[in-house]
């Protein structure tokens, strides 16, 4: 899909990240938009959404996202209060050491990475996630 500022509700895009089949855009006012394939939950949506052709906003209004990064089929979101959220392909434990399945997020339900508090930076490799703490 070809997207423009119109697709992100008129908000300007500060940062962009791409997986192999999905994209994330971080806009001004710290709102994240996602589009592409959601076959592993990488868009941060529920199982019912197989994919999104146009960008859709994620999370509730009180979530201020600072950094975004994409792996092949997973996504990482770092909030201003130094919390890390991961979703998507989890076969090789990219998102969660405890879970045995891929991580899907509802717009309501958020899965926080318990070991990751005071996270200051995050970057995803194709099949892995790296983060640094304070």
């Amino acid at each position: 899909a070809v997207v423009s500022t119109q697709s992100t509700g008129g908000l300007k895009v500060k940062n962009i990240a791409a997986g192999y089949w999905h994209c994330l855009a971080l806009t001004e006012f710290d709102v994240v938009y996602a589009w592409g394939w959601n076959n592993k939950g990488q868009l941060g949506l529920s199982r019912e959404n197989a994919m999104e052709n146009m960008p859709v906003p994620l999370f509730e209004e009180d979530m201020e996202i600072d950094y975004i990064s994409c792996g092949r089929s997973h996504s990482a979101f770092l909030t201003k209060d130094k919390s890390l959220y991961l979703c998507g392909w989890n076969k090789y434990k990219q998102c969660s050491e405890d879970a045995n399945e891929d991580i899907y997020l509802d717009n309501r339900l958020k899965v926080n990475t318990p070991s990751a508090t005071d996270v200051v930076d995050v970057v995803c490799g194709p099949w892995s996630t790296y983060f640094t703490t304070d």
Partner: protein
């Protein structure tokens, strides 16, 4: 633990496993290409998995009991996931065949490991994924044979219960309908004469000797080949927005979409089933008539419930369409007729005209004069659809057909 599959450990299957793993570990040309695409670490994984599989297979034969080898299976999955990625990025035409060969090889190796650890159903699923997504090395058939022998072992008994009941849909009365002529068992020479005018005709009594005519039914396929995975189209027609493809076993397909009423239509259409499930090839035989030209013949299967519709379109092949089970109705138009094809480059061979619509001649007034060749096919009938002729096909019951395409 009671090892119930011993009966089906046919000598043949173990032989295929052994021959296949040896063959792949000695394919130097492939190994050289492997190193071009991967670094030495992945090559090390690949070599280890092959060697370990050969060892585990030997242990399985010596000890005559299941061999635990989850590490091998995990390593296979890593290579499969990697190959799958490469196959699904960019345009399929640009995907190097190396990735599809790797996918086929590792699916086979994974199958061996799954089978000897007791996972027979997963083993055959792995073979089928390798057959659907992968490519062979120099036309070898190890994966085909392994799958065919395993499925023999999983065969069940059955009784033919389902009788195809015809629901005839009358074409709009405003169409200018002509009946397609039928000929009884023409000789090869007569067939060549029949081809000359370039118009459709039906041949009767030329496939009555096919074992498929007596054997095939939904129950037969489900019981003898139910564990096989196939790609099924979901949606009312391939031009619809909600059309998609899904992989499922023949058992799931037949239970959910053929033998029971479903909300959505599913259709196993235009699939080279006999290249995949090679045992089914024994139930049909190639038509001598296709040999009139020296071209390659593409054999497709068309297996679906009542009500499948292929909208009016034309193909780049001559077509001998063999009806094996159930009933189908064809509406055909001359290749020279303007059928208002779609503009989109992917749909240039598909007409915008819905020939079954009661208002068709209001939407497209020129349809009133054009001659609509209409025929209903039953088991044993073979229809000749000339090159580039427009055809609309509707199944009038559960239907299984085999088409031979040539040029």
């Amino acid at each position: 633990m009671l090892f119930c599959h011993k009966k089906y450990d046919s000598h043949r299957l173990i032989e295929v496993f052994e021959k296949g793993t040896c063959f792949y570990s000695q394919e130097n040309a492939f190994h050289q290409r492997f190193v071009e695409f991967f670094c030495s670490k992945e090559k090390f994984i690949f070599d280890c998995v092959l060697a370990s599989t050969i060892k585990c297979l030997q242990k399985y034969q010596d000890d005559r009991k299941e061999v635990e080898n989850q590490t091998n299976i995990n390593q296979c999955e890593i290579l499969i996931d990697f190959a799958w990625e490469k196959i699904n990025i960019g345009h399929w035409k640009d995907v190097d065949v190396f990735w599809r060969k790797l996918y086929r090889i590792i699916s086979f190796i994974k199958c061996v490991n799954l089978y000897i650890s007791g996972g027979v159903i997963d083993a055959i699923k792995s073979c089928d994924m390798g057959l659907i997504m992968g490519a062979p090395i120099r036309e070898e058939l190890f994966t085909h044979e392994a799958a065919d022998v395993i499925s023999l072992g999983l065969s069940k008994e059955y009784t033919n219960i389902h009788v195809p009941t015809k629901r005839y849909v009358i074409p709009p009365r405003s169409l200018n309908i002509k009946e397609v002529p039928s000929i009884n068992s023409p000789s090869l020479q007569y067939f060549m004469e029949l081809l000359e005018p370039g118009t459709p005709f039906v041949m009767k009594n030329i496939i009555s000797h096919w074992p498929a005519i007596k054997k095939w039914s939904p129950e037969f396929l489900r019981s003898k080949h139910g564990c096989r995975t196939v790609p099924v189209e979901i949606g009312s027609s391939y031009v619809s927005e909600h059309w998609s493809q899904k992989l499922m076993t023949l058992d799931e397909y037949i239970s959910d979409y053929i033998l029971s009423k479903s909300d959505s239509i599913a259709y196993l259409a235009q699939y080279e089933l006999f290249k995949h499930i090679t045992r089914l090839k024994e139930d049909i035989s190639p038509l001598d008539y296709c040999a009139v030209s020296n071209s390659e013949v593409v054999t497709n299967c068309w297996f679906g419930p009542e009500g499948t519709v292929s909208p009016l379109h034309h193909d780049h092949y001559q077509n001998l369409f063999c009806q094996v089970y159930g009933y189908k109705r064809f509406i055909m138009y001359d290749r020279a007729d303007d059928m208002h094809p779609h503009q989109h480059h992917l749909l240039k061979n598909t007409s915008q005209v819905d020939v079954e619509s009661p208002t068709v001649t209001e939407e497209f007034p020129d349809m009133k004069e054009k001659v609509a060749w209409v025929v209903e096919l039953g088991p044993g009938d073979v229809l000749y659809v000339p090159l580039h002729w427009w055809h609309h096909v509707r199944s009038l019951s559960v239907s299984f057909s085999v088409s031979f395409w040539w040029k």
